[in-house]
């Protein structure tokens, strides 16, 4: 019976330890939330900080952030619309895409699965797009797959997986069951968009037409494009060696491509700080790099999902 006593004592001690820790973790003081938080106030840089939507002044990004009460794993915001990807606790890991209004109140919820990867809202705030990882949980383990969806917030029409869109590869209609899309960015007309498609081991930059529902490839090896506010440049991550990625800028008029000054590998969909520079997450901090190849600079520590609101 000695064994039973040892076991019971151990169960009590271990269970007590786990409960005590969880209780402490639950009561840990989170940063006080700002009473009212309007993501549309201009002159601020929105970031994800301590797991929640937060803001710092654009002219002083090193200042202590004003934190909202809204938790997101990845978000983007424009024109008064905020798209918040949040994982939902439950017996199975799930992700929801939430559309939030200017008081960060939920107006629409789309149930997804997987791990949040990318979020983007068009400049006007009308179109929203998201990408989640659904399997493999990584790029290398067998069968890595993403789902990308697009929502038109004005009509309420949502496509939860855009991979059925008719695709033209190098001008010819292309059929393959293995196409995967990720990283959508919208043009100012709320109809045209750019994204990445992968098929047969290659990635392509695609230009899509939401209304006509078709897409065509523009060039190879470009992922997670981000269109500049003036619509003249795309910044994307390109596979290089050593890499895996390096941010590059593409001039859409000349179709000339130049590497940015950030030499470290970046796995993010860039966001535009202004017409001349982009922001991205690297090693848990938000950095900015100019288009002209100048050196990158640190913007906000311990943050991700940057969005400049002007």
């Amino acid at each position: 019976m000695k064994r039973v006593v040892v076991l019971l004592v151990a169960v009590v001690v271990l269970a007590g330890g786990a409960v005590a820790y969880a209780t402490w973790a639950a009561s840990r003081g989170a940063a006080p939330a700002a009473a009212a938080f309007d993501p549309g106030v201009p002159g601020r840089l929105l970031v994800r900080s301590a797991g929640r939507i937060a803001a710092v002044p654009l002219d002083d990004p090193g200042a202590a952030p004003t934190v909202s009460g809204t938790a997101c794993d990845r978000f983007h915001s424009a024109g008064g619309t905020t798209l918040c990807l949040v994982t939902r606790p439950g017996t199975l890991p799930k992700t929801d895409a939430l559309i939030l209004d200017r008081s960060l109140r939920e107006t629409r919820r789309i149930k997804l699965a997987g791990i949040p990867s990318r979020a983007r809202v068009s400049q006007s705030g009308r179109m929203a797009s998201w990408t989640v990882f659904v399997t493999g949980d990584s790029y290398s383990s067998g069968g890595f797959s993403t789902w990308t969806g697009i929502l038109d917030t004005r009509t309420g029409y949502a496509v939860t997986n855009i991979e059925d869109i008719p695709l033209y590869l190098d001008g010819r209609r292309y059929h393959s069951p293995d196409v995967n899309y990720w990283g959508v960015t919208f043009a100012a007309d709320d109809n045209r968009f750019y994204a990445t498609v992968s098929t047969k081991g290659k990635t392509y930059l695609v230009e899509g037409d939401f209304g006509a529902w078709r897409a065509r490839t523009l060039r190879e090896n470009a992922e997670c494009p981000s269109l500049s506010p003036d619509g003249r440049h795309l910044v994307f991550k390109k596979r290089v060696s050593p890499g895996p990625w390096r941010l590059h800028a593409l001039d859409l008029k000349t179709m000339r491509e130049t590497p940015l000054g950030e030499s470290a590998s970046v796995d993010d969909q860039a966001a535009w700080l202004d017409e001349r520079s982009v922001m991205y997450a690297k090693d848990g901090d938000v950095w900015a790099a100019p288009l002209d190849g100048g050196p990158p600079r640190l913007l906000v520590r311990d943050a991700s999902s940057p969005v400049a609101v002007r």
Partner: protein
């Protein structure tokens, strides 16, 4: 015998040591699946890391795990202390749960912890399975493995539930999940220490240590079984591909996708014990082969109408008829003093073959397309199965096909 359910029907048919090992696996699986369920989210959401940083290390980890598994098997045999080696493996994985907290956001440290966790898993599997083969009568090995695997799967079901329970009550504190997981893992180690008995009979005459792996492979029946396991592993499509194909064929709603593995696990859980018993009664080689026929049927359904429930049931039946049954087939072919190293060898061979299969099918999917790639794998499976059947039937009088004459 000394477990509290003594006297019940279960205890009479399944040795107490096997139940104890099953309980240890159940508890340990709760712990490890708690972490597995939240780790990608933790890395991406809490730490802001890119998953690709970990994907790159995957192949490397695999190599390390394989070597440690073989070395651990050899050490367990050499010292005749399987429980000790398994305990080190369980203990290492338990400590890793706390080390995850200590690693913080450092990619190097996290990578090291994840490698150590896998090492622990690699270390404990073979000695645990060897203990099962040494704890049950030879003619009931299939049933014993069935009970063990079913208990293990119950743990795998409960783990994610526990993790998200903790996340819910703590409002998303990942560290609380790791601490809880550690406490559960520690309980598993304690159960092993208290209730699992090593079998430390006198060493065989002459005090010989374990045979070298080369010597083991010179034994024709064991060598053939290793080759069969590897050949079939090479044409076994990895689970994630099966789920992905189902999703694509059926255009399943995104939120239902995470349920697919539960379907397989459910069938595995229900069928592991009956299939193990069938294997004991009608021949393990036959059930092992039938399991691969179920896999073939699942492939054909995936290429055809892709019916959800039948595909998942066949997929689970495949695991139920092959995973524990392979160990029950291999155990009696190995001399007691080399059992752990032999099982480690066959597990490593199978795991290596499955990794190659993943790479192969990934390439086929990319070049030919999913259905065509699967057709190639199905053709390969038919071929491997034919070879396997010939090879296994050659063991005419071996213990696995004549269990009744070997009961103790």
């Amino acid at each position: 015998m000394y477990i509290s359910i003594k006297g019940t029907g279960l205890a009479r048919s399944v040795p107490a040591n096997v139940l104890a090992l099953g309980l240890v696996s159940l508890v340990t699986d709760i712990s490890s699946e708690m972490v597995t369920a939240v780790l990608p989210l933790y890395l991406v959401s809490a730490l802001g890391l890119s998953l690709v940083q970990f994907g790159v290390l995957d192949g490397l980890y695999f190599g390390v795990t394989a070597l440690v598994r073989l070395a651990g098997g050899h050490a367990a045999d050499r010292l005749a202390r399987r429980k000790l080696v398994a305990g080190v493996g369980y203990g290492l994985s338990a400590v890793c749960k706390l080390a995850l907290l200590a690693a913080g956001g450092s990619v190097a440290a996290l990578g090291a912890v994840m490698a150590a966790d896998r090492t622990g898993k690699g270390l404990r599997t073979a000695p645990r399975d060897a203990l099962i083969t040494l704890s049950a009568p030879v003619d009931r090995l299939g049933g014993a493995f069935g009970v063990h695997r079913a208990m293990d799967t119950v743990g795998a079901f409960l783990g994610p539930l526990a993790a998200f329970g903790v996340l819910t009550v703590t409002a998303g504190a990942y560290d609380a999940v790791f601490v809880t997981s550690f406490c559960v893992a520690a309980l598993g180690v304690l159960l092993l220490v208290l209730y699992v008995r090593d079998r430390r009979g006198p060493l065989p005459p002459g005090g010989r240590g374990p045979l070298r792996l080369g010597t083991l492979l010179r034994r024709a029946p064991f060598r053939r079984l290793c080759l069969v396991a590897a050949a079939l592993g090479l044409v076994t499509v990895s689970d994630s591909f099966v789920y992905l194909m189902l999703q694509k064929r059926l255009a399943l709603a995104p939120e239902l996708f995470p349920l697919l593995p539960l379907g397989t696990a459910g069938a595995y859980l229900l069928l592991a014990v009956p299939f193990g018993r069938l294997a004991d009664r009608y021949g393990r080689a036959a059930v092992f082969a039938a399991g691969h026929v179920a896999l073939l049927a699942a492939y054909l359904l995936l290429m055809g109408p892709a019916w959800l429930v039948p595909v998942l049931a066949l997929h689970g039946a495949f695991y139920a008829a092959t995973d524990g049954v392979l160990m029950a087939l291999a155990g009696p072919l190995l001399p007691e003093q080399s059992r752990t190293s032999g099982l480690a060898l066959i597990q490593t061979g199978q795991a290596t073959a499955r990794m190659l299969s993943s790479m192969l099918f990934g390439a086929l999917w990319t070049v030919l397309g999913a259905t065509e790639g699967l057709a190639v794998m199905a053709a390969g499976l038919v071929l491997s199965l034919a070879l396997a059947w010939r090879s296994l039937r050659a063991e005419g009088g071996a213990p696995m096909t004549a269990p009744s004459s070997r009961s103790r």
